[in-house]
């Protein structure tokens, strides 16, 4: 029988906490200065143009927003699917989710041509626009997760936790459906205009969010010297591996469907074969570094938290590559206005659009990431959201302590058993 989970804040054992907070604050300040420069000078100082209208800020924003939804995985599995193993992770899961969403939305808003008109966006709606729906989906998600956290952390409200968790779970599905549909509803562009964008984005949110959450969780535990065992590493690692496979499934389905239709052969050739940087990012970034290598690490070596952290890092790199290919690559491929014709104009019609990320864009995006990390850092310092321990004995109801070493005379036999033990554990 497990003892009830004890939650606490990050302890003073975390070295250089205020240095880290300070560095994040500097990164945020740099991001804000970049946004200010972009607004005052105009977007011509960025790599974006009238052909590539969404650039690096959108890659960062979409990554953070999609990951925000997926960071709630642990809480959802605990509250909605009743898996008590994940209950100790639910609070930090909710905190990470909100922080990522705030970071992503900050980037999105600060990249607007007129960020000063945010009040217009919040008060004037065109309800036929999926963007307008998303404003409600994002703000609503934040409110729901805050309430959900309250239910989890306030003993008197604990009975509402399941209802709040279910609401948050359904809402996050709607949120990622909405985010995917931003692209799925674009009938004009060859790379988008597909219903599969919605489930693809849901799968991406599960995988990327899980990767960010795992990396954040393990990093905090490692940083603050809290105990963490192989069981949690193995469970989260294997789950992440399965979620990567789910994303791969949708990616394969997306491209196979396109490859079947002749009208999409152009865009498929561009992404898969001769799209230059986009092709490299797809195969090396998304597929190899972001999917196959982490899957190998997670299914073979998940008992080691370091391996899981490494794999999660690779998934994040692959996720950025994937979103870059979707957003930038999708725009770089020319609009099909005159099928069968070679098109040229002063507006670069008919050609592959050039794009090189600029420093202000990247710094703004990194600033958004820093906002998310600062939010997490402040929360773990001030709120009891971290489980006291993730050692095997504290979280695994089936945990049995390792047998005491046998006496000296049986040294050779004991050594033989030790060699077999890891294989037995892995196969179980």
């Amino acid at each position: 029988m497990l003892k009830p989970t004890v939650f606490d804040q990050i302890t003073d054992k975390a070295p250089g906490y205020y240095v880290v907070v300070g560095l994040l604050a500097v990164a945020i300040a740099i991001g804000l200065v970049s946004a200010y420069t972009m607004e005052t000078s105009g977007h011509h100082i960025t790599g974006m143009s009238n052909r590539i209208v969404w650039g690096m800020p959108h890659v960062f924003a979409v990554f953070l927003i999609v990951a925000a939804s997926g960071a709630l995985n642990a809480a959802s599995i605990s509250s909605v699917f009743g898996r008590t193993f994940y209950k100790p992770l639910a609070r930090i899961s909710g905190v990470t989710s909100i922080a990522l969403l705030i970071g992503g939305l900050s980037v999105l808003v600060l990249d607007l041509g007129r960020p000063d008109r945010l009040i217009v966006a919040m008060t004037t709606y065109n309800f036929k626009s999926i963007f307008a729906w998303n404003i409600f989906l994002y703000t609503g998600f934040m409110v729901i997760v805050v309430v959900y956290l309250w239910m989890m952390m306030e003993r008197r409200m604990a009975r509402f936790t399941k209802a709040a968790g279910m609401t948050a779970f359904l809402w996050r599905l709607a949120l990622t459906t909405g985010t995917g549909s931003i692209f799925g509803f674009l009938v004009a562009r060859q790379a988008y205009d597909a219903a599969i964008m919605a489930p693809l984005f849901i799968a991406m949110s599960l995988s990327l969010g899980m990767a960010v959450f795992t990396l954040v969780l393990f990093s905090i535990f490692w940083w603050s010297g809290k105990p963490i065992g192989s069981t949690i590493s193995q469970r989260l690692g294997r789950l992440l591996g399965i979620l990567i496979a789910a994303v791969l499934y949708f990616v394969i389905a997306q491209h196979l469907t396109n490859l079947y239709a002749t009208e999409h052969h152009g865009i498929e050739r561009f992404i898969l074969i001769d799209g230059g940087v986009y092709t490299h990012l797809f195969w090396w970034g998304q597929i190899l570094i972001g999917s196959l290598i982490p899957m190998y690490l997670l299914f073979k070596m998940a008992k080691c938290p370091c391996m899981v952290m490494g794999a999660a890092g690779l998934v994040i790199v692959g996720g950025f590559a994937q979103i870059y290919v979707i957003i930038i690559g999708g725009q770089a491929y020319p609009l099909l206005m005159f099928p069968g014709m070679e098109v040229t104009s002063s507006f670069f019609d008919g050609g592959i659009a050039a794009y090189a990320p600029s420093l202000p864009e990247v710094l703004l995006g990194l600033g958004g990431g820093a906002i998310a990390l600062l939010g997490i850092a402040l929360a773990v310092k001030t709120l009891p959201v971290l489980p006291h321990s993730l050692a095997n004995a504290d979280i695994d109801p089936d945990y049995t302590p390792p047998p005491e070493p046998e006496p000296e005379p049986e040294k050779e036999e004991a050594a033989g058993e030790d060699d077999e033990a890891p294989e037995a554990a892995a196969s179980s």
Binding site: V53, L112, G113, P115, N126, S345
Partner: protein, 262 residues
């Protein structure tokens, strides 16, 4: 006989009264010629379909569907009078940075991949009846007037560029830098999106768009502006004589810009 003439015998038609002496005829002819000269800018109006001014305070009418018919066969290679006229009229200009230049109208060159045939044509916002830019705009800044002209409300555009992602024609431009040489009738602003307004300020005054006027004045007569809903308009008659093409007709957006000879 008019109703007035019926009740007023003193001004009833009378052969003697109606007879015009030669001197008076010459005077009237001279006055007519002078009037025609004075109305020279508007002469193309008659050539390109009659346009009535919209009185101030009266909403645009859904009975009208403004459109432009472009006869590609008459569009000379190398001619960009329509582009220049649009720049002059609406105050947009090149910035020296090609990728971020604002372009409300551009000349597009098409080359048939199979036959090698080459043709150029003017290309701008297609003023769709079902505009995707209007559908996706979160604030409703992109809107379509009742008479079919698609515009951007410069006060509520937040510069998200989703309309640019959604437009199948790459017809919209984001203003990437500070604007100068603004015209009172065509307000512009850094950080917002803009596109061809079909010279709505002129159309509301009973004039035709600047591009059409320039094209007609030069004698090319590539473009005809008018009310597509009026079967007696020149544009409706011309469109009825030939098969016309709507770009990306497969999307079902029903553009107000029609092309013939494509």
């Amino acid at each position: 006989m008019s109703k007035c003439a019926k009740h007023c015998p003193e001004i009833a038609p009378n052969d003697a009264q109606n007879a015009i002496d030669p001197g008076r005829r010459r005077l009237l002819a001279g006055a007519g010629a002078l009037t025609t000269l004075m109305l020279a800018p508007g002469v193309s109006l008659m050539m390109s379909g009659a346009v009535e001014a919209r009185p101030a305070g009266v909403a645009a009418s859904a009975k009208i569907r403004w459109g432009i018919l472009i006869d590609v066969s008459k569009c000379p290679d190398g001619c960009d009078l329509c582009v220049t006229a649009c720049k002059d009229e609406n105050g947009w200009q090149e910035t020296g940075r090609a990728e971020t230049n604002v372009q409300w109208i551009r000349k597009v060159t098409l080359k048939d991949k199979n036959t090698g045939a080459i043709k150029t044509l003017p290309f701008m916002c297609q003023h769709c009846a079902e505009p995707p830019c209007v559908d996706v705009c979160p604030t409703g800044a992109s809107f379509k007037r009742a008479d079919g002209i698609v515009l951007v409300d410069k006060h509520t555009c937040i510069g998200c560029r989703y309309c640019m992602m959604a437009c199948p024609y790459a017809a919209r431009s984001f203003v990437h830098e500070q604007v100068t040489n603004q015209k009172p009738h065509a307000p512009r602003g850094k950080g917002t999106v803009e596109s061809c307004t079909m010279c709505v300020h002129r159309v509301d005054k009973g004039q035709i768009p600047a591009c059409v006027e320039a094209c007609t004045k030069a004698g090319n007569r590539t473009m005809i502006f008018g009310d597509l809903n009026d079967p007696n308009s020149e544009i409706a008659k011309a469109a009825g004589q030939h098969l016309t093409t709507r770009i990306r007709a497969d999307l079902g957006l029903d553009p107000g810009i029609l092309y013939s000879g494509l």
